[in-house]
């Protein structure tokens, strides 16, 4: 019975991890959930797995997209509704590999309109842009 409950909990967290949007997130959270499960008692394992399932939608939103040049910024068709249609971006500050600050949308990778003119210019960065 204990083994069956533990097996069910492991299967559930593996299934939840498969619902995450990127390959790296799937691999990371599968390993993380399984490691967390290993620290719990049998009854707590199932409660944990159900909690992970309940939180899946929130985790999908919170996990950052894979950022390779092929996948980021997201192609227009894959952008969330708020970005693609409503043009309501979630601006955040980021840095290039050589330390140049810029602003991009955390959801789709769109560059802030002012960033495009600022990168490479001598105009000081103003973090109050929203």
């Amino acid at each position: 019975m204990n083994t069956r409950t533990g097996g069910l909990a492991r299967a559930l967290v593996r299934a939840v991890a498969r619902g995450l949007p990127t390959r790296s997130a799937r691999a990371r959270y599968r390993a993380e959930f399984l490691a967390d499960l290993a620290a719990l008692t049998t009854g707590a394992k199932l409660r944990y797995a159900v909690g992970v399932l309940v939180a899946l939608a929130a985790l999908r939103t919170a996990v950052p997209p894979d950022r390779t040049p092929d996948t980021w910024p997201l192609p227009r068709a894959q952008r969330p509704f708020r970005c693609r249609v409503l043009h309501r971006h979630a601006w955040r500050q980021a840095e290039t590999s050589d330390g140049e600050p810029y602003r991009e949308c955390a959801r789709c990778g769109e560059l802030h309109p002012r960033t495009q003119t600022m990168v490479g210019s001598t105009v000081p960065w103003t973090p109050s842009i929203t």
Partner: protein
């Protein structure tokens, strides 16, 4: 962009600020924050996305330990400052609430 300061987010930050130099894994954070088991990861992911939190895999041999390596979380130096400020702001009563007379006062 700072994270939304929901009650669960405040509890997670308060739990991490108890011992900011100590690394904790998901279950420990959930227990300290008194959140429902398994529901802490979206909050941790958001905090990590804003740079307030850093995480790393535990450096152990799973064969020797008899369990998988855990993912440990800890507030960054910037995160400690930002989290303290955000919690102070979140716990401070709004001007409207401060101005409201207490029961029996008016």
């Amino acid at each position: 962009m700072p994270p939304r300061m929901t009650i669960p987010t405040q509890r997670v930050l308060a739990a991490l600020l108890d011992e900011p130099e100590r690394e904790l894994y998901g279950i420990e954070i959930g227990e300290r924050a008194e959140l429902r088991s398994g529901t802490v990861h979206p909050i941790l992911a958001r905090l990590e996305g804003t740079g307030w939190l850093a995480s790393r895999w535990e450096d152990v041999d799973p064969q020797a330990e008899g369990r998988p390596a855990r993912r440990y979380y800890r507030l960054t130096a910037d995160g400690v400052v930002a989290a303290r400020t955000a919690l102070e702001r979140a716990w401070r009563p709004s001007a409207a609430r401060r101005a409201r007379p207490a029961l029996g006062e008016a």
